[in-house]
């Protein structure tokens, strides 16, 4: 299990290859979130709660690992200032079969969205606005 919280950009392809090296599992799922250009946005600023972040993510990853018997799991999440098109975060899961790898990755994403202490702010030419949590993200948790 690897959990990294960092300001630095990362190479999602290199991460996926390193994650898959020497696996016994047959199924690897990855999710990468990129800064999407939502209109006049020029950058995204991500704030987090350092003392809590790794601990909260680690607990989520441990739960997913146990529940879907993952051979490996990876979460990378950035904070600080990010440009449009840059990767924000990445999740990878490795399991014996595809259903477990997919479900674990979706579970991790749903929990990271609403339970990991990150807050996104969109920086536009005309000002800044905090991204509001979506009811659909909170609802997504009820399926687990």
């Amino acid at each position: 299990m690897t959990v990294r919280v960092q300001t630095a950009a990362f190479d999602m392809g290199a991460e996926l290859n390193a994650f898959s090296e020497g696996l016994e599992a047959g199924a690897v799922v990855s999710f990468t979130g990129l800064v999407r250009d939502a209109g006049r946005m020029v950058a995204m600023e991500i704030e987090h709660y350092p003392a809590m972040t790794e601990r909260a993510i680690t607990a989520i990853v441990q739960e997913a690992t146990a529940r879907w018997s993952l051979e490996r799991a990876l979460v990378i999440h950035r904070h600080g200032r990010l440009m449009v098109g840059e990767p924000i975060m990445m999740v990878a899961t490795a399991a014996r079969h595809r259903a477990g790898a997919f479900q674990a990755a979706e579970f991790l994403m749903d929990y990271l969205k609403s339970r990991a202490p990150f807050w996104k702010k969109e920086i536009g030419a005309e000002g800044e606005v905090w991204v509001e949590a979506k009811a659909s993200d909170e609802d997504a948790l009820t399926r687990w």
Binding site: Y49, M52, R55, R115, P117, W119, V131, E132
Partner: protein, 82 residues
């Protein structure tokens, strides 16, 4: 003494990221009531607690969580990670 941390727009409204307070509040809700009484900016930040989340000693908690023995309380809007 309890460390209180603020994040995102809660931090911006109150104007500081953290402060240390002396309090006899028994629960998070009591602490919120105390802070609201301090100044207008606190009253504004805590106007609607349904729009806020709280962590007690770095674990998500409810507003009725007790504060006995607690060292750190954090207030913030719903998280938007991922």
């Amino acid at each position: 003494m309890i460390d209180i941390l603020y994040f995102a727009w809660v931090r911006e409204r109150i104007g500081l990221p953290r402060e240390r307070v002396q309090t006899d509040a028994a629960t998070v809700a009591d602490l919120v009531a105390e802070l609201r009484g301090r100044e207008e900016r606190y009253a504004l930040a805590f106007a609607d607690t349904s729009a806020l989340r709280v962590a007690v000693d770095q674990d998500l908690a409810d507003f009725d969580a007790p504060l006995a023995g607690v060292r750190e309380v954090a207030f913030f809007p719903p998280m938007t990670g991922g």
